[in-house]
């Protein structure tokens, strides 16, 4: 186990170096020259040249890369071409919004997904099962940005239950402590701000979580069915334990092991989905910001975001893999080729 952990952790390093090279070369080598875009079409060649010089874009690419990496290791990801402020500041000003959204999405997805999955497995071939399967199928097929649009149409436009975008009403914004508005509202003891923030959060979180919810439903159902077919479940039933107890005490726990891993992996992919959801709901997080920065060639910011997301993604995968190894010691890693 320890050997596996060390090996798995060491594998992260080359991956991260590779990611930084990929992103760097995409942004600095293959992308069109940002100078005319940043300075405007009417900038003359001299000012563009001066700008390139000031931003280090005239140095050899390898020099640029090493300058970037040595900066990154010290926590300096460069400065935005537009705002001139540090990329790290730009990112961390928006990051809590995205994390708040993603956490809410994965919480919704897990609770509803596991619930539906268990119900579908226990009542196999019932109407619950059919509904669960249909839900899981539509959930992976519907584009999340369209789902968001439908939610806004129905829940905001028609029912007026939830606001159609934003994180909180401006006047209610709590004093910033953590950047997570719901937590900040609690710290400030402001119940109105808390419920307002929650109201803003529900629709985008549900839209973002739908895909994961579908995957979790499927996974829970099949995992639960597999467990319910095991001999020890038959034994438990034969002993006369009530069905509820069999499911809750004997079947649920082992069934949730693979589900846990899936939830972990889904959390990573939510960060990608946030790009779209945030655009739909005008959520002032990192996703919408990324798209904006890409459109205006603010490469240092894009690089920083992609690197950060990759670090999170890789860390989550690592934790999920290790958790899986810990929870299910039967896994033989030497023979495990694909998952």
């Amino acid at each position: 186990m320890l050997k596996y952990v060390i090996k798995r952790v060491l594998m992260v390093l080359p991956v991260m170096i590779g990611v930084s090279i990929i992103v760097f070369s995409l942004m600095r080598v293959f992308s069109p020259d940002p100078a005319p875009i940043v300075l405007g079409q009417h900038a003359n060649e001299e000012s563009m040249q001066a700008w390139r010089e000031a931003n280090g874009l005239n140095d050899p690419v390898v020099t640029q890369y090493f300058a970037y990496i040595s900066g990154a290791l010290k926590g300096d990801l460069g400065t935005s071409y537009y705002t001139k402020s540090a990329v790290t500041d730009e990112i961390f000003a928006r990051f809590p919004a995205t994390i708040e959204l993603a956490v809410a999405a994965i919480v919704f997805a897990s609770i509803i997904g596991i619930g539906l999955g268990v119900m579908a497995a226990v009542k196999k071939n019932s109407i619950f099962d059919a509904a669960g399967s249909l839900f899981a199928l539509v959930g992976v097929s519907i584009p999340i940005f369209w789902l968001g649009i439908l939610f806004i149409m129905f829940f905001s436009g028609f029912l007026h239950w939830f606001p159609s975008g934003g994180r909180i009403d401006v006047l209610l914004k709590p004093a910033e402590v953590t950047g997570f508005y719901m937590i900040d509202a609690l710290i400030a003891g402001d119940g109105e701000a808390f419920s307002n923030a929650l109201n803003h959060l529900i629709l985008p979180a549900l839209a973002l979580g739908m895909y994961s919810m579908a995957i979790i439903t499927r996974m829970t159902r099949s995992s639960m069915l597999e467990t319910l077919g095991q001999d020890y479940i038959r034994t438990a039933r034969a002993k006369g334990i009530t069905e509820t107890k069999v499911i809750a005490k004997h079947a649920l726990r082992p069934s949730l092991i693979p589900v846990t891993t899936v939830i972990g992996l889904q959390f990573g992919s939510l960060l990608g989905g946030a790009l779209l959801t945030e655009s739909v709901f005008s959520w002032p997080g990192i996703g919408k910001f990324t798209v904006d920065c890409i459109l205006k060639s603010d490469f240092p910011v894009v690089q920083g975001i992609v690197l950060l997301v990759a670090v999170i993604f890789v860390t989550i995968n690592l934790v999920a893999d290790l958790a899986y190894a810990y929870l299910d010691p039967r896994i033989k890693y030497s023979s495990k080729k694909e998952r």
Partner: protein, 330 residues
């Protein structure tokens, strides 16, 4: 949609364990329309290799009503894509500001958009774009993925390590983020979207092919082929890959659906097809400001995406079940 669910309720025996149900390929096809992950413990002897795996696959697929309906729907979509220009009542890129944002009517079945373009015509015309991009992107991913995966799996050693580590690096970035980063480098446009979407899904195929090749490689007939003195390339393409083909086809079918979703997402963000060319995601992105004023502009393109993606997902699931009841998602 409710039809196949109903059928699964009626026809599947409710008694007995999962493994018993999986015994009959016939029952299996119906029992698993939702593409569940089938339960692994079943009697191997009942699934001896059929004489013709394609025939067997087709039989089993035919018994899966959902997959069959999806297949018919996909054929229909392909026809719409091919015959598109003959089916559109209006020119899909002709603007008419005097009739902008009209609700659905006899003249404009799906209404008109913010520029007065006929939404029905645009949805029809968008079919061609979505299917083409989906197919092309998957072809790029498939070809590159098969070659890389085959080399990695067959060669092993450091070649394998290098290739698969590069794949890991690509997988470390969420695919949609990688795709839009690529788009930033390549520039906007549908041809670039095809490349971006194709590139980001290479690792999936490379992994699957590599995994399959690793297991096929152990077979005696491959050793025999070596002994006879066949070249490596010949062994890979004639003896190893055909055995992994069915798995690849299933993955590719599901891959088309995600490629179509990604295309729509790029279009929605304004990075894909450039106007006035009709593309479903782009239509949604541009009509977004009219969400309360003219909701119909946002309804039909979204339905088209969902229905198409759903069909490819159902077909892919059906193929997977038809192919191997033990096959797992991803």
């Amino acid at each position: 949609m409710s039809e196949w669910n109903q059928s699964s309720l009626d026809e599947v025996p409710t008694m007995g364990s999962e493994s018993q149900k999986a015994d009959e390929t016939f029952a299996m096809g119906i029992a698993l329309p939702d593409g569940e992950i089938p339960v692994p413990d079943y009697d191997e002897t009942l699934h001896e290799k059929p004489e013709n795996q394609w025939l067997e696959m087709w039989r089993s697929l035919r018994a899966n009503r959902a997959a069959l309906v999806s297949l018919i729907f996909i054929v229909f979509l392909v026809l719409v894509a091919i015959l598109g220009p003959y089916l559109t009542p209006y020119n899909p890129i002709e603007t008419d500001m005097s009739s902008a944002l009209q609700t659905p009517s006899a003249q404009h079945w799906f209404g008109t958009d913010q520029l007065g373009m006929d939404i029905f015509s645009r949805v029809i015309a968008g079919t061609r774009v979505s299917l083409t991009v989906g197919l092309l992107a998957v072809s790029i991913a498939l070809t590159t993925g098969i070659i890389l995966g085959a080399i990695a799996g067959y060669a092993g050693g450091w070649v394998d390590t290098v290739i698969m580590r590069v794949m890991d690096m690509m997988l470390a970035i969420p695919s949609i983020l990688l795709a839009i980063t690529l788009m930033a480098a390549l520039g906007k446009g549908i041809d670039k979207a095809v490349i971006a979407i194709g590139l980001v899904s290479i690792p999936e195929y490379a992994r699957i092919v590599r995994g399959n090749i690793l297991s096929i490689k152990e077979n005696d007939y491959i050793a025999a082929a070596h002994v006879v003195g066949l070249s490596d390339a010949r062994i890979i393409f004639r003896h190893v890959l055909p055995n992994a083909l069915s798995v690849i086809i299933v993955r590719a079918t599901l891959g088309i659906s995600s490629a179509i979703l990604d295309t729509a997402a790029l279009g929605f963000l304004g990075l894909g097809v450039q106007p006035p060319q009709p593309e479903w995601g782009d239509m949604l992105g541009r009509a977004r400001g009219f969400i309360f004023q003219a909701p119909h502009t946002l309804l039909y393109p979204g339905m088209a995406i969902t229905a198409t993606v759903l069909a490819f997902n159902l077909l892919g699931d059906g193929l997977r079940d038809a192919l191997d009841p033990r096959a797992r998602i991803k």
